[in-house]
Symmetry: C2
Subunit: 411 residues, 2 copies
């Protein structure tokens, strides 16, 4: 493994200095090559599906695993879209002249070698490979075992194009040891690996965060809130509250807890219940909520729970301060929204809620690379440092200072 990672590190200097057009050309070849070989991909994918059936994977998981012609075309479209994004490397992020006369430029550069640990969907393999390639990074991919044949053939096809362009295969590669021990080794290899991005279950992310000596940008849970302030527009508040919970329930930017100001609760709660009932949403509420609508009780535990399901906890609160406090204590710093027509309250909420994405009068469901206009996304970071919120290709960069002198010496 160390030998492999040393080669990966060495390769990172090669890809970091490829011309933008060369990268685009190679990515177009990759997309074409995958399309040409879609029959082989489907054949390899069927081995994963068969094994998955034998291992009694759920229908939902099997569906996420499956690659058909349409899904392969969507993979290659995504590669082409990423190829055509604005070049993220060499951007001048800042620049100034200092009294000594030096011209300083702060310029974006690739991070280096990025280890990405993820599950299930094989399209993540081609997406993240394309995102890393476009941003000049080497990626070491560790996909789920359940998608091993699919991931292997996708990586092999991408490597064939690398080799056709005289580039080392380590630029896009699968972790050689695809086991838990392999991951345990990888996250200690800070000499060669510059960043680990874990996407997946809470336990995996916790294990990696606690044990990695490589910096980690984690893609953790989303326990998102909406707070309906007393001045909220009723119709819009109902619209948004339904959208944030019901438009899709199994994703991280879905609302899990609805906070309602006591002065609007009696008006809005019965109407909300009517709408949620239509969507078969299971509602749990605090004692005060249950004085207004007849639903089951929400425990303190519920307010800490990311359901990833069609379930919603509701709490009536007395003030904006209490709402902010509740969110900062119970939330996961992902996405939270205030629905309000009161200017001062919206400003206070935006300033004091300590989350990556803080909304006014909008659904939390917009926290997403595509919705943010980033094109494809690496994921949604729940880190405070380096990258926060939706991560696009620009978040796969760091910077250096280029300093232009004219014989300058320090006095």
């Amino acid at each position: 493994m160390e030998n492999f990672l040393a080669k990966a590190k060495f390769s990172s200097r090669i890809i970091a200095n490829l011309e933008p057009q060369t990268k685009i050309d190679i990515m177009m070849q990759m997309a074409d090559h995958i399309e040409k070989n879609r029959d082989i991909i489907i054949k390899e994918n069927s081995k994963d599906i068969e094994l998955g059936r034998k291992n009694n994977l759920s229908y939902a998981l099997l569906d996420r695993l499956l690659l058909d012609e349409k899904r392969i075309l969507s993979m290659t479209n995504s590669i082409r879209e990423i190829a055509n994004l604005r070049e993220p490397i060499g951007k001048i992020l800042d620049g100034w002249v200092v009294p000594s006369g030096l011209k300083i430029e702060k310029v974006s550069i690739p991070i280096g070698v990025i280890g990405i640990i993820y599950e299930s969907r094989p399209n993540v393999t081609s997406d993240t490979a394309a995102l890393c390639f476009k941003s000049g990074n080497v990626c070491v991919l560790k996909g789920g075992k359940e998608a091993q044949y699919s991931n292997k053939i996708i990586a092999t096809l991408l490597q064939e194009i690398l080799s056709r362009n005289s580039l080392p295969s380590e630029i896009i590669s699968l972790l050689p040891d695809n086991s838990r021990e392999g991951v345990a080794k990888l996250i200690k290899m800070d000499r060669y690996v510059d960043l680990i991005i874990p996407r997946g279950g809470e336990d995996l992310i916790k294990y990696i965060s606690q044990n990695s000596t490589v910096p980690v940008v984690k893609h953790d849970k989303g326990l998102c809130h909406i707070f309906i302030d007393e001045s909220a527009d009723i119709k819009s508040a109902i619209n948004i509250s339904i959208n944030a919970k019901c438009q899709r329930t199994g994703v991280c930017n879905t609302m899990e807890t609805l906070l309602i100001h006591r002065n609007i609760a009696k008006t809005i709660l019965p109407k909300l219940k009517e709408e949620y009932d239509k969507h078969k949403t299971k509602l749990l509420g605090c004692e005060k909520t249950r004085e207004i609508i007849n639903i089951e009780i929400a425990s303190e535990e519920d307010f800490y729970t990311e359901y990833l399901d069609n379930i919603l906890s509701i709490k009536i609160i007395d003030s904006l301060d209490e709402a902010i406090e509740h969110i900062n204590i119970h939330g996961s710093g992902h996405s939270d929204s205030i629905l309000s027509e009161n200017y001062s309250n919206t400003q206070k909420f935006l300033d004091e809620v300590d989350s990556a994405c803080v909304y006014v009068n909008a659904s939390t469901r917009f926290t997403d690379g595509a919705e943010f206009g980033f094109g494809a996304e690496v994921g949604i970071s729940t880190n405070r440092l380096h990258s926060r919120g939706p991560m696009g290709i620009n978040d796969l960069t760091t910077y250096k200072f280029k300093i232009y002198g004219n014989g300058n010496i320090r006095e």
Copy 2:
């Protein structure tokens, strides 16, 4: 300790939302208060000096420890300067409107709770406290034992001003357990601490990087290079080479290795030796160097050594590619400079040398917060991620997205 850090975390929400002018006012009070109490500081500092003498600290270390009237005034000047820097919080770093109509703002915010581990000089205590306060962060300071009385009185005086302004004392505090065990606990408290900045010896930094579950921005060694290309201006090259080594030898941005293109070596080496001899610099060289000037041999080990002393390793190399390769393998990614009049070579060097600061025709000694125009600095980061190179108050921030809607729901 956990109780203390929980309070620190809670306090971080208070300081994060102070008005800019309030922060300035409080910092001015801090500076005044320290000036008024300079006799007490000098008295406490004398206890450290006395203990240091008993423990046979070197003259250099004792000098770094010493606080006199002049040094205290320089401390308070620094607090006032930091107070008057442009407000680093709430800066709109980027902003755009997406097709759904949402207005997205990327806004700078404080990091939260920052643990800073450092040695010797007590002015670091007031400097870092001021930098953290200005950038809305809580700081937990762990200074060296040798400066314990000085650090304690400085922190106490700052806390007196916090309390006078009804702010919790945890906003600026010393780590309650000032031992190795205290540090070991601190770096595992990722629930409460958002960033650890270690400044100090290589062993300390290595220990923290390997064991911290809190993100670390390290302030590591500087093994800086200058490469004299064949087209370099001889006079300017000699000037810069002397400045980069001799202007100050014990600091991280000093040159440790000089690389010289073989086609200019015979011309420049004798002149360089003459100048270095005037500065009593000890020169070590590769075999080819020693064919031109009579100096001791440099081992492969020497090219990996940060001397922090008036010693220089010299190597003759055959090409720009070899120079870049040598720097990327032996360097520490800190600061490296090319001296050249060849346009293509300077561009290639700037692009391919993988260091935080890459110079053309200038001394590496400029890698410094003040020289970069940042005002006071937290230090010089040798991380690849989050912050690279000189760190000012803007590097003590992260960001959130503020998103302004108008009833938007996701389709």
